[in-house]
Symmetry: C2
Subunit: 314 residues, 2 copies
């Protein structure tokens, strides 16, 4: 069993397993194992969240299956590079299982990552990060991303991503759906396929928003949205990950997460609208290209899909 | 002219005019004059906002007229108790003009009142207030309220209101629509009339929310919603007030205001739903009482209106 475990190749943020360092592992069969470090209360907290979340009948089944990794309890596993050390791991769904060339973005949602009753030390640390990143201003920040394109994989260094200013975050949301992500003017060629359509990212974000306008069970501090699609726009999905700082909602909506989510939705909508405007639904050449893209992706949903334009996307 | 000016009787929050203190004045004809203290940059900032807001064609006319006080420029007026001192005043709409017995609530929206680029001193002051009030937790706080009922006016001291905990804020939203606001179990007798209906507070809050999901022109820090109705539920309205800390949106939605607004909407919805459940639309006695209330208020909109119930409202 242990021989089959490996580090997730497409991880863009969070702890990475390495020499003397704990990090998640995957088994290549759809399982994602997240170590529960006994010296860190966050692991126990995240386990408690999964147990609570998956047993709470007030969470709609569709929300659970659409937006959360499936959860299979815990499993004792050897730690890589220290095979004599056994540690319990959360057994979660490998959200990128089956993707051949995943494009992935980790977006930490919420203008603030500190929560009421946090220790003063943790509070001060979070507050500083929120003010020094785009969180406070924008309601979210990007923790990491990678984009596969024809000539390979584009993955900016996570330290660089963490320092992104507002304009760079906006640019990232365009790069994420571009065939030339590292160009000065990314083409947003996949915007309609990935962000648009009734099963696209925007539709999923809007469904999630509806739940957050109503649910008062949990407040998701420091939780990320993992946004992913496979080459050509296939299987675009949005999942919540990282629940080490979730607290009970106590009858109040999670206005911090909801506000940040609405901010993200606004920008995704704008990029989508710009892409549609730039392409125009009546240009025969672009429609043909769009049809090709749709066929390549096995999709029929999007009504408008765009290719690169000479004018670029604004 | 000066002889006709008086202090607004129904002010529930903010500066009050008094000996040696500047505060707003009304003329009894629908005008509200807010002094522009030359020693305080907030006045100049608020004037700049009004000028900018009322000249910006991107603000829908319906939003402007529904949710903002009308603005008539500035006017030089003598200061009460110091008639030799002349000061410029903002000429605004007296939002309670024509109300005989207004019930009024001032709700400061947003989990945080500090804004990016605020001075460290102002930032620290706001942060402390946000954490010590319900703002951080709930996304809004109540700065003051008054409720008229049959035996007079109930107006808790504003210092007490400012210290309200979450449960007391929730209770206030019930007291605000009760005929017995100072009872242990307020009856929410006017919930359907005031909060409900196609012209009620909830409908107005939802319309405002739609705009905030889209607008990226302004970020309204430390801005309040003035929620008011007259005796019997008449003329329920929601207006934004206090714009001394509004900054430009720069293409980002005001996720801080929007999140708090959604939190308020959730609680108002719940109180309304509870009131409807408690009353039940089929009880003939309550329907008759509701019809009386509607007639008294000159309303025909609400489909369900409730009277007090023995079980109270939860």
């Amino acid at each position: 069993m242990a021989a089959m475990l490996q580090r997730p190749e497409h991880q863009v943020a969070g702890h990475e397993a390495g020499a003397g360092k704990l990090g998640p592992l995957i088994d290549g069969s759809g399982n994602f194992f997240k170590p529960l470090d006994p010296s860190d209360e966050r692991g126990a907290h995240e386990l408690a969240f999964y147990n609570s979340f998956y047993s709470d009948q007030r969470v709609p089944r569709s929300i659970r299956s659409s937006f959360f990794p499936s959860f299979g309890g815990t499993k004792i596993l050897p730690v890589p590079d220290s095979p004599d050390l056994l540690l319990p791991h959360l057994v979660l769904e490998d959200l990128l299982h089956g993707y051949s060339n995943p494009c992935v973005m980790d977006v930490k949602i919420g203008a603030r990552t500190w929560y009421p009753n946090a220790s003063e030390k943790y509070y001060a640390k979070c507050l500083k990060k929120d003010r020094n990143s785009t969180s406070a201003l924008l309601g979210f920040r990007i923790s990491g991303l990678q984009v596969h394109h024809e000539s390979g994989r584009w993955k900016p260094h996570r330290d660089k991503v963490k320092k992104y200013a507002v304009t760079e975050v906006r640019q990232s949301l365009r790069q994420f759906v571009s065939k030339n992500p590292d160009a000065t003017d990314p083409d947003c060629a996949l915007a309609s396929l990935v962000y648009g359509g009734s099963n696209g990212i925007l539709a999923q974000l809007l469904e999630l928003k509806s739940w957050f306008e109503d649910q008062t069970l949990f407040h998701f501090y420091s939780t990320s949205l993992l946004i992913a699609y496979d080459k050509g726009g296939k299987a675009a999905r949005v999942k919540l990950i990282d629940f080490a700082h979730v607290i009970e909602g106590e009858g109040i909506i999670d206005h911090n997460f909801l506000g940040g989510l609405c901010s993200l939705i606004k920008w995704v909508s704008e990029i989508l609208a710009d892409a549609k405007t730039a392409a125009g639904p009546t240009d025969p050449q672009l429609l043909e290209r769009a049809a090709d893209l749709e066929a390549a992706a096995g999709l029929t949903e999007p009504k408008v899909a765009v290719g690169p334009t000479e004018n670029g996307i604004h």
